[in-house]
């Protein structure tokens, strides 16, 4: 296949890019490097089958040109910063909804019909059913990030109906592992590299989360892309267990062999729109023969090890 990967220099996008190249596919990687890193493309850049386009998804002309003769688009690029949405409300709309519209229009101009989309469990808002299945009752949006991704899902579906597109939509739980660059494990490691004696935790530490290792996530994407050919499929991607933020504090501190003083901002939520409990029903994806290789604890430890080996990620401004 000749694939486009948007967000190819990001955490999940670069991991997917490496795996697609390993499988022998051609990859046109597209990234504006707003949150991606050239370092994550080191392996990809060694492959003659990889082409890097350094541009923004809002630059529709470049986007359309870059997709020439491609078969499939993995649209992974996003503003994934759920926490600071209310500080810049337009950013999610622009980077997630409008950028997805540009991707769809560029595909249409190039007669590409297949789009694989990284959505998010954030679209479930504060779910009341656990584990949460894909076909839960229409949820209320609790974050601008979730709202922007649900909007993108809707656009993609309308293109499937109106223009004969075909899609796989993956609603990710939080993803962890090598090249992880934001989220609570990152924040904790960053705090601890600056001062190993103190750790401040947003909320009461009892928020329950379900994390998945990035390689397990990419395994699922590649498997479903191979197996599914119907108009539209939606898959939750997460673990079949969950943990408390406090568990991760213990695992991280054990791994780093430190005992910081803990302080808490308090409350059920780490911030406005933080979800005190995320736990996805992934049986639909499992029915395709997929199962995660790494436990949440293993994923967190691998992430901590990666960040220790790549302290430049923690110390950059």
């Amino acid at each position: 296949m000749r694939c486009v990967v948007t967000g190819c220099a990001g955490f999940i996008g670069s991991t997917l890019t490496d795996r697609l190249l390993e499988q022998g596919h051609d990859v046109i990687g597209y990234d504006n490097f707003s949150t991606g890193f050239p370092e994550f493309l080191k392996t990809a850049q060694e492959s003659p089958q990889f082409t890097l386009i350094k541009a923004d998804l809002l630059d529709k002309e470049t986007l359309t040109k870059s997709m020439q003769k491609c078969d499939i688009v993995f649209h992974i690029a996003a503003n994934a910063d759920i926490r600071f949405g209310t500080e810049h409300p337009y950013k999610d709309l622009e980077q997630n909804t409008l950028a997805t519209f540009n991707v769809l229009e560029s595909m249409r101009e190039n007669n590409i019909k297949r789009i694989i989309f990284s959505s998010t469990s954030a679209i479930y808002g504060e779910a009341s059913v656990f584990p949460t299945p894909e076909d839960v009752a229409i949820p209320s949006q609790t974050s601008l990030y979730g709202a922007s991704k649900l909007a993108a899902e809707g656009l993609i579906q309308a293109y499937c109906e109106g223009f004969g597109f075909q899609t796989l939509i993956f609603r990710f739980a939080s993803i962890l592992g090598e090249r992880y660059t934001h989220g609570h494990v990152f924040d904790f490691c960053k705090q601890l590299v600056n001062n190993p004696e103190k750790l401040h935790i947003l909320g009461n530490g009892k928020q329950r989360k379900s994390y998945l290792h990035v390689q397990d996530c990419v395994d699922a994407i590649l498997l479903a892309t191979k197996k599914m050919n119907n108009k539209m499929s939606i898959f939750n991607l997460g673990s079949d267990t969950y943990f408390e933020v406090n568990n991760s504090v213990n695992w991280i501190c054990e791994r780093l062999n430190i005992q910081p003083n803990l302080s808490y901002s308090g409350g059920e939520r780490g911030w406005v729109g933080d979800n005190p409990f995320i736990f996805l029903d992934c049986s639909r994806m499992r029915a395709l023969g997929w199962q995660p290789k790494y436990s949440i604890q293993e994923s967190i430890i691998k992430t901590v090890d990666f960040l220790q080996e790549n302290k430049w990620l923690l110390t950059r401004r």
Copy 2:
């Protein structure tokens, strides 16, 4: 109350404007007259409590200024043309999603917290539960219009969560009555005014639809606005019966006392994204004490009478 009504010159917006003025409220009407008509504001213009702002919702500066000292926004403006979505995919996104974002941001700048929003049953795509309740399983979007409105709902909800907004979201079935200017009854009347001997029907005529009279729609909006004070409420607004497009053909022809030759384009759907069956569960709205005054047949006859008395609407280019 000092109210903003976006889309004040449109079918539903102008009817709501008249009713708000009747109740003694001040109304700042906002319209770009892209699909609205100055004629619909004749009554409103006679009121000293009405102010008209002729501007586009994409002009955020004017929008923000026009909302000064207002208490509540009735955001009714929309590109409501579901049928031609695929001919100009950006239009729904711009007029419905981005315009709603501008409304929300302008409200935030003016510290207005309350927004009443006209959404649509189109967000249910092709429902599989009838009558369809508000909390049905997350639907797949089948039109750019539905997708753009669902996106707007999500944005509003995120503002409720992130910025302390309060909202009522109404998901309309098709609305009929005086000042109705688009939809199948309009199309039929338009064909018949040009040639009363022929009528072409999109689809097989067996599409089942649920229509509501515009005064019943506005009754519901005003009642719920008065009664509901919680963060977020969503109400379906439709009839508790439905009809076939063929029924409406009979009612219209009887009323006009004509017997045209009928032809059909065929198929279950009138166009891509047309929904062969719309029937909403409106028990949530009824529980507030609301019930429609007009049957679907009465609504269609009133609409036909209105269009006969206002043939300029049918004959303009």
